[in-house]
Amino acid sequence: MRHKRLLAACLAAGLALLAGCSAPSSGGSTGSVTLTYLTFETPSLTASFWDTSIANANKKVPGVTIKKLVAPSTDRDAYAKQLQASGQFPDLLQSITPSTFVQAGLLKPYDQTWVDANFLLPLGNAYKGKVYIPPTNSQIIPMVFYNKTLFTKAGINAPPKTWSDFLTVCAKLKAAGITPIELGGGDPFAASMPLVGILSADVLGKNPNWLQDRYSGKVKFTDANVQTAVAKYRTLAKNGYFEDGALGVKYADSITNFTSGKTAMYMMGSWFLGSVPKDHADDFGSFMTPTDDGSLVVPFAVGGSMAISAKTAAPDKATAFAQAWSLDPDNYKALIEGDGAFPMLKGKSLTDYHVTVTQVFKDSYAYVGQQNTKVSAFGWATNDDSMPSGLNDAFYAASQALYSSDDVAGQMAKLDAAWNTATK
């Protein structure tokens, strides 16, 4: 009898363990649909922001319950792949890079008529001619933000126009005892920003189709023009224009260092505009990475809201929710003020979002609407210029390596090898 009770207890424990492995259902108890929505959190895009924005969209789409998933880091592409591998691909995915997922048939395109009707650049992030993420906002990646007070202290009256001017500015700042450029080298994506700016300006600025040419094998990272551009980054590092120990500085600390006046310039995506201190915002200005001849090149990236899974059990509801969320102006207030996003909704101006933005935001946003040379931000495009899987990591690693290594040819060869492996 004692043995039978013990045996029963063991079997019950085993069944309890296995019960935890059952797949979740997507149907609600009262006929409503449950959709999983992959989000990510940053200092600006907080849990509260997501909960509020989801609730607002829910009001417009009854019968939908959203189960929010939060990526453990800002690399939501990698997390989405883990979820796919474990059979839990979300119904909605915020701001992923569509290309890899589209190739696997995992995403559903939006109705182009709806996209054309609602957004300034309907094909801004299109992949193979279709839109998988509504082009709701854009970024310039990177801009060069600068501290006007420190510039004045070093006797610099205006931002540089050419690369030569830029080097002169750096030298003047260093001579005045001011660290010229802040670098969050401890976080790989932040470490790559100077290189993103230089390659976007010099390589894509002269050949906007360079990334497409790389896909077709017409150009390589080891080409002379690319190595010449990369050598500019080495010049900045060798001349000591970055702060000491930059590779040990985390991204969050780099923001603090720059906004507290420890460094004069900061090459970062325009999302930094959300971190400009409101109490002395007029201390900050921005310009584009200078080119050799002073021509203006704007490294542009059209982002967006959410992608829809091609496998969702409720495509109509998912689409309705995604459209409602994407067109809600209240969502853009947080994105504009907190994340420096440049809104791309048709027929709307900044005042329509009831936002309070700094002058440096307005000056930076002006580049979006102006007629100028816009190219894809190297490594940040989500359209046909997006890099193959794994290349971003290889690019970031090369950026960190080149901070202290002079082996430009070797690092570019590694990028070519990584590209060839990823695209074979």
Binding site: H3, L7, P188, K250, D253, S389
Partner: protein, 296 residues
Amino acid sequence: MTTRARPWRGDTALGAIAVLGIGLYIVFIIVPLIMSAWKSLTDENPLLAHSDFIGLANYQDMAHDDALISSLGFTLVMAAVVTVAANAAGIGFAMLLNRTSLSFRMMRTVAFLPQVLSGVIVGFVWRYILAQDGILNAVLVSTGLSSRPITWLGSPLLARFSVGLVAAWVLTGFTTVVHLAALQSIPVEMYQAATVDGAGRWQQFRRITLPMLAPGTTIGVTLSLITMLKLYDIIVALTSGGPANSTESTALYIIKLAFTDDRFGYASAVAMLLLAVSAVIALSVTGLLRRREVDL
């Protein structure tokens, strides 16, 4: 006088528990192992439903994979250095803590604390300690031991040292407890007899303590090696494998291959390689160390 074989008293309840244990082991260890071995012979992509059998192509690709060779080199060196350091420190701390008073018993609990913390928490905490403006640099600069902050995580060499330091800190808690248990099993009479025979402290340590610690050392070294060979969480939180992939362990490389590069098949092959290397090292070291163990 004849002996009679004892009748077998099978205990069905214990048998049921054993079956449950074996079943869980098969389901969560053996089956995934077999599945991973199969995947290593394919070109599986985590995003695609279909994959093709490609035989040993993944294993052939390994010979030309510089990133794999680099990560394996880092992993093996870290495993060797940290294992030696953690076990040497563990023996030292065990000798210091081998007292019966309440305060020493409390210190034993504190010594084991790093072992119970999750690797991610350990990594995050140490990231702030080792930051450019972190506590360690503040102490070093304020005491004059360093004229400027040291980039503990900002250069490849120092980042590797930092990873080793943190991993050794975590493992020392475990090795201390293991060696302490071994120390406490050494009969006091052996030391008394050695004293009577005129042996000094160093001779007693060499001739009695170290040999009698051998079973604990076998456990400490083997588990330290296995832990270091599959190290992932501390590195992700502390350095993310940087700068420039200098602290990328093989385990971290496997995850990157699978979920960033979308090369599930190749990642599985690298995982099989890591398993084989770990098994060879663990079995060899265990075999060597067991010869040193002394039976009373």
